[in-house]
């Protein structure tokens, strides 16, 4: 079996808060192969961004391992990390706040190249910037404009050009289209998929939009309060959702499909709580219509079909 490009083992990120220890990411195991897109879905606050940031070492993990190409990067030195970091980039939801407002489009994209010195020489760098802009569908005339002069869709293209500047292998896309209008969203999704094809990129694609995640992902991971509750191939997840939370999530999606319009919806009661010092057992338990006594025990992911994992003692016991 080939080594996955990215793997986490028992990854945890706890935050100390006045109320206690907040388990933002708790015991996450995942694998992402070369050229693959893993979609990560779940409600606000379930730990999606924290997971992405912990994998990229933008925040320090509390426990566990992050393997890049088989090596645990959590105990890499700064020197070793510098090389790995070039291969791992991030694209953010709000391109505006993640771009330096004082730099022009050309300067923003050139910045990582100059810092890492992967390309040297003024002319060569300018050529590389032009090429990146072209790949990301930014007309060359924008090279001297500033991000605030551009709309959200074009700003997101700048964010992508910058992320691609060092020829990464893996990109965490954190809600890259959530702030965009649907017509622009579709342009950016197409661009992300084209780039993946031509450059063999791997993505961890974070979103709360289930239609988008279904479109772009090979496999999908569903999170609830820091835990992974279900992982499956895109088609298995949508045709055989098994964890009660996954089922509720899929049932709640509003669609433009008239045949689904009057189908009964499963409406969940209650809301997601903050995972401060959580009790052992399934964290979805208080909202779950199928909860039994066994749910108060520690849940682990079980393989219910090839490549389809569920953490639920009732449906995958």
């Amino acid at each position: 079996m080939t080594t996955p490009l990215i793997e986490t083992k028992g990854l945890k990120k706890y935050f100390n808060t006045p109320g206690g220890s907040l388990h933002a990411v708790d015991n996450v195991d995942l694998k992402i192969s070369s050229g693959e897109t893993l979609g990560v879905v779940g409600e606000s606050g379930c730990g999606k961004s924290t997971l992405g940031r912990t994998i990229l070492r933008l925040v320090d993990a509390t426990a566990g391992e992050v393997l890049y190409d088989g090596q645990n990067i959590l105990n890499f030195s700064q020197q070793q990390m510098r090389d790995v970091r070039m291969n791992m980039q991030m694209i953010f939801q709000d391109p505006f706040t993640s771009l330096n407002p004082r730099l022009s489009v050309g300067e923003i994209i050139a910045d990582p190249i100059e810092v890492s010195r992967t390309v040297r020489g003024r002319r060569e760098i300018r050529e590389k910037v032009r090429e990146l802009m072209d790949v990301c569908g930014l007309p060359e005339r924008y090279v001297n404009t500033y991000p605030h002069e551009l709309d959200g869709g074009r700003r997101q293209r700048i964010g992508m050009a910058r992320a691609l500047a060092l020829n990464p292998k893996f990109i965490v896309c954190d809600e890259p289209v959530s702030a965009l209008d649907v017509s622009i969203q579709a342009q950016i999704l197409n661009l992300l998929m084209d780039l993946q094809q031509s450059k063999g990129l791997s993505y961890m694609f974070i979103t709360h939009n289930l239609c988008v995640v279904r479109h772009i992902s090979n496999r999908i991971m569903v999170m609830y309060m820091g835990n992974v509750v279900e992982v499956a191939s895109r088609d298995d997840l949508f045709s055989h959702p098994t964890h009660p939370y996954t089922k509720a999530l899929l049932s709640a999606i509003p669609t433009t499909d008239l045949s689904r319009r009057n189908s009964a919806r499963q409406i969940l009661k209650g809301e997601v709580a903050n995972p401060v010092d959580p009790k052992p057992g399934c964290r979805f338990n208080p909202r779950c219509p199928y909860a039994t006594k066994s749910c108060q025990e520690q849940q682990t992911l079980k393989e219910i079909a090839s490549g389809h994992y569920v953490a639920c003692s009732v449906f995958a016991g």
Binding site: D181, H208, P254, I267, L268
Partner: protein
């Protein structure tokens, strides 16, 4: 036929800013019958909020200006209402829910007191006990334990705050509820709760509603009819069942549908609408969508298309010229 509750005709609204004049609404028409739910869909800057604020007469003073058209509410011209009459109408007959629930909530007052204040305004005859009973009933109706009425807004989650705001908007049993993106900031499972609540309360109080959203799916869930907006005009209008058949549509509506990944159908590539939204300070003489339209003809550039109708379904596009004769 039911009498019209609201008739907006050829409405023109602009914002006069220091830099430029923004043409936000450019000849907009909508109709609403009693008890009807109309979805108003459009992308950023289409003019959805401007329409809501125009009906409520809450456009920013000096900057926002209605330059033409009419808004008939119950056959009375709202644009001729005095400030006092408008205030009474807003409290009593028309309610609005904003995307950010904190627009409607007072951060330093318990939610129970805020509901009580609304009750006081609409049902001054209620005794203290009756009021208290009614507050409990309302809170339970929106799924929040009435014991929490002593708490302040910041102690509730976004979804709970929005539910309280919806309850407050509906206590007065308004004839018209305008909800501007009421679920956009919420998670899908919470959104489903809110949409279900809106559906139930609408039946209970028989209010008409304008639901503003950029999400075609949300609108399909709760609305009877849909109006698609582009650059301050309604470019397509019809019953949900007709528009969402995806058979006859304005090229812009078709573009929106093709931009959306679907839940039950795999497509390798989405077909986005090309280009970007037109500049509202510099609108073209012909169809506003012409520059982005893959079926643009000569006439579209020179002349604004009128409305062509096929029964209840109408489209502002020369591709449907043949409909006019029916």
């Amino acid at each position: 036929m039911e009498r019209k509750l609201l008739e907006v005709r050829n409405l023109h609204v602009r914002y006069n800013t220091d830099e430029a004049v923004v043409y936000a609404l450019n000849g907009l028409d909508i109709d609403l019958e009693k008890g009807e739910t109309l979805g108003l869909v459009g992308e950023t800057g289409a003019g959805k909020t401007t329409l809501a604020l125009s009906i409520m007469q809450l456009l920013p003073q000096k900057v926002g200006q209605i330059t033409g058209g009419s808004i008939l509410y119950d056959e009375k011209e709202l644009l001729k209402f005095s400030v006092k009459d408008m205030l009474a109408l807003r409290g009593d007959k028309i309610s609005m829910i904003f995307q950010d629930p904190m627009t409607s909530l007072n951060p330093v007052m318990s939610v129970g007191d805020q509901i009580s204040e609304v009750l006081e305004q609409h049902f001054p005859e209620l005794s203290k006990e009756q009021k208290s009973e009614k507050i409990d009933e309302i809170m339970n109706m929106v799924g929040i334990p009435s014991s929490r009425k002593v708490e302040y807004p910041h102690q509730f989650s976004g979804g709970m705050k929005q539910r309280i705001v919806i309850a407050m908007a509906l206590i007065a049993e308004p004839d018209l509820l305008i909800a501007d993106e009421p679920t956009t900031a919420l998670d899908v499972t919470i959104q489903a709760q809110i949409l279900e609540l809106i559906r139930q309360l609408k039946v209970k109080f028989n209010s008409a509603m304008i639901l503003i959203s950029h999400d075609l799916g949300v609108v399909a869930e709760v609305c009877d009819n849909v109006a698609i907006m582009y650059a301050g005009e309604v470019i397509e209008y019809g019953p949900i069942e007709t528009v969402y058949l995806k058979k006859d549509n304005h090229p812009y509506t078709r573009g929106l549908f093709n931009s959306l990944p679907e839940l039950t159908r795999n497509v390798d590539r989405l077909e986005p609408i090309m280009g970007y939204m037109v500049d509202p300070t510099n609108l073209p003489a012909g169809c506003s969508f012409a520059a982005r339209c893959d079926r643009c003809m000569d006439i579209c550039i020179s002349k604004k298309p009128p409305v062509f109708s096929d029964g209840a379904h109408s489209i502002k596009c020369y591709l449907y010229q043949h409909w006019a004769d029916k």
